[in-house]
């Protein structure tokens, strides 16, 4: 027969467990320990309130431009919750809730967003990578880390984050291809928040879903309701277990929404209707999760109030501590640190000349 048909997947799973009306699919509902559920809730609430606080700090000029996360908390936390400490997270730049879950301090986020490189410091006990701004580029690093895990025969897993825009980049396709070819323990989590600055998801690709791109590279792909923390968790847990047990990579598309600006330098009113934002507000991942926990009897109005107060205090303390820490970061000579393991001689000379110049101008300043 000259013309035959090759059987390929012609459909893709979409997973939703807790819908926007609070309705739960009890067949799919995962068994998660209450303590884990409550920890996830606390981090989600903390991330939401901290995001709001960062926005007000930015408006007051106390930090610089930053990318808010509001609306995407479930798609962050559901993904990282099945990981263990020895796994690696390779973030993009809008995964603050995941960062907090993985142990990043509030202080470091304030310091980083206020323009100090020191805010990017990863403590020795954490494996995770710092944020990566060039869109999609970090996907390949996760693939390389996963290659190392396979080489060292650990059962650790690398998880990387990226957005819908990143799926247009060559690095995304190359990353998926390598992950498939080498059968690597990597979980690729796409935060499809519908907008790459002003470009809607529909103009990013003609594909009906982003998850289906996995098929072309021979790895499993699944689309989940990204505002449903239970669905994200179930998909991520399955992908992590697959990776851990030698089953290779998985692409997870979390369908979510960027409720706020791309960054604080952006004005979304130029390109998207308020009605769309309002529509997504009704799908809020936080209130949905709170409703679920309340129905299970794990959360009461009083609980939430107490949690809110504790979080407000925690944020206040962290911001104050960060602002105190930043006073010690005033030394401009810190800019010469971390260029190389060992400073080359010509750079030492530049550093010495900088010191000479600073002293000279300070002295003149005193006279003036």
């Amino acid at each position: 027969m000259p013309k035959t048909r090759i059987a390929l997947p012609d459909s893709i799973d979409h997973l939703s467990i807790l819908d926007e009306h609070g309705k739960i699919d009890t067949d799919l509902e995962p068994t998660i320990e209450n303590s884990l559920l409550l920890r996830l809730h606390r981090t989600m609430l903390l991330a939401r309130r901290f995001d709001e606080r960062l926005l007000s700090l930015q408006r007051q000029g106390r930090i610089g431009t930053f990318p808010p996360i509001a609306g995407q908390e479930a798609a962050h936390l559901g993904a990282v919750a099945p990981l263990r400490a020895s796994d690696w997270v390779v973030p993009a730049f809008r995964e603050m809730a995941a960062d907090l879950w993985r142990g990043r301090s509030l202080e470091s986020i304030v310091i980083y967003n206020n323009g100090f490189n020191e805010g990017g410091r990863i403590p020795a006990e954490r494996n995770d990578m710092p944020i990566s701004v060039p869109v999609g580029s970090q996907i390949l690093h996760a693939v390389g880390i996963a290659w190392g895990m396979k080489y060292r025969a650990t059962d650790d897993v690398a998880m990387t984050f990226f957005g819908d825009g990143a799926t247009s980049q060559g690095d995304f396709h190359e990353g998926l291809n390598f992950a498939g070819v080498f059968q690597l323990p990597v979980v690729l989590v796409c935060q499809n928040n519908q907008w790459a600055i002003s470009i809607p998801r529909s103009k990013q690709t003609r594909s009906q879903t982003l998850a289906q791109k996995a098929f072309a590279y021979g790895i499993p792909g699944i689309q989940v309701d990204g505002n449903d923390i239970l669905a994200v968790y179930v998909a991520a847990r399955e992908a992590v277990e697959r990776a851990r047990s030698g089953g290779g990579a998985t692409l997870i598309e979390c369908v979510t929404y960027r409720m706020a600006v791309h960054t604080t330098a952006d004005d979304p009113k130029r390109y998207r209707p308020d009605a769309e934002v309002e529509e997504w507000r009704r799908k809020d991942p936080l209130t949905r999760f709170q409703g679920y926990l309340a129905a299970k009897g794990l959360l009461t109005v009083d609980n939430v109030k107490a949690e809110e107060e504790a979080i407000a205090a925690e944020i206040q303390t962290a911001v104050a501590r960060a602002e105190e820490e930043m006073k010690a970061l005033g030394d401009p000579l810190l800019m010469f640190e971390h260029a190389y393991a060992e400073m080359p001689e010509y750079l030492s000379e530049q550093r010495a000349d900088f010191i000479r110049f600073m002293h000279a101008t300070q002295k003149e300043g005193d006279h003036a």
Binding site: G64, F116, V133, D266, Y271, M326, L334, M335, Q350
Partner: protein, 327 residues
């Protein structure tokens, strides 16, 4: 003449060239509906439509590669990189193809594209939003690398870049985008690519700069005159490559003392090429080693320390005074 910011002047250049020549196409990330993140392409989609103002998917290499194809086919693509920090994705397409197709096809094909990118520090931005990597491009034979310094010369040079038969990398100093206004004529104005300009006459020393560094350099020249009675000549390179050294050499022969200023890191930066040209062509007229006032050889720090990295008036004056004291 209306007074414009550099953003408005660049917009005028694009608007007029698009009206004049229907082969001019603007493409890039967020250049259409959003008008560009810095608003350089503001309103173009309303005037010229989606057919000529193209919001692309997020893929810099694809934007550059597609621009090469469009240009070879006879269009004049003006593609935008949102920040120079994301333009390195295009390096392969530009180095391997845009700069070489004239040679490879032995003159049959050429690539009249413009790649615009905001560059440089000083706007409290995130990582990858403040670099000054013009040397990358200037090092590639077959490319032109242009950096304006004011609204008026930005407009005139962009028009020239669009009309140029060869690929032009056009770096826009984002610190200057809205820093000041200047009179820009409504009627057509061009400036030759590959020509520097003397913007201040002086006999005691020569300051060479370009882009965002022109303002501190000119201020330094004023301060040298005011505080120290020194007359500095100031030259604006405008084109980094092909580098026009005629004015530099002439000025160096006159003053014998030269400093070159840029915010790019020092080693292998454009200043090194300037020094080499002066050594080659004005060596016996130099009274002191040519000074480089530049960024340091580190990644530009995040914004809280940026001001220490970027050359400012005080560092330029400091360098000028040591040049003058050299015997």
């Amino acid at each position: 003449m209306p007074k414009m910011t550099m953003v408005q002047a660049l917009n005028l250049a694009l608007r007029q060239e698009m009206a004049r020549d229907e082969s001019v196409i603007v493409l890039g990330e967020d250049v259409g509906v959003d008008g560009g993140v810095f608003r350089v392409t503001d309103g173009l989609i309303e005037t010229f439509g989606e057919r000529r103002v193209v919001d692309t998917p997020l893929a810099e290499s694809a934007i550059a590669g597609m621009s090469i194809g469009m240009a070879v086919y006879g269009l004049k693509p003006v593609c935008e990189m949102q920040f120079d920090g994301f333009s390195y994705y295009t390096m392969h397409q530009i180095e391997a193809h845009a700069s070489r197709l004239r040679l490879r096809s032995q003159g049959r094909h050429h690539v009249p594209m413009v790649l615009r990118a905001p560059y440089g520090g000083g706007v409290r931005a995130l990582e990858h939003h403040s670099e000054s990597r013009e040397a990358f491009w200037a090092h590639i034979p077959g490319l032109k690398m242009v950096i304006p310094s004011s609204p008026r010369n930005a407009r005139a040079l962009l028009v020239s870049a669009i009309r140029d038969p060869d690929p032009v990398i056009f770096y826009e100093p984002k610190a200057v985008y809205r820093a000041f206004r200047e009179e820009v004529p409504e009627e057509e104005e061009t400036l030759p690519i590959g020509r520097s300009q003397r913007v201040r006459e002086g006999r005691d020393l020569t300051l060479i700069a370009y882009g965002a560094m022109m303002r501190p350099t000119l201020e330094a020249a004023e301060e040298l005159k005011r505080q120290h009675g020194v007359e500095a000549e100031v030259i604006d390179l405008l084109t980094i490559s092909p580098l026009d050294d005629s004015l530099l050499v002439e000025s160096a022969r006159k003053t014998g003392r030269v400093a070159v200023v840029h915010e790019a890191p020092r080693s292998f930066g454009p200043g090194a090429e300037v020094v080499a040209r002066l050594v080659e062509k004005a060596f016996y007229h130099l009274e002191a080693p040519v000074a480089r006032v530049t960024g340091y050889d580190v990644v530009i720090p995040l914004f809280s320390r940026e001001k220490y990295y970027l050359p400012g008036v005080a560092r330029i004056v400091d360098a000028a005074r040591s040049l003058l004291s050299a015997q």
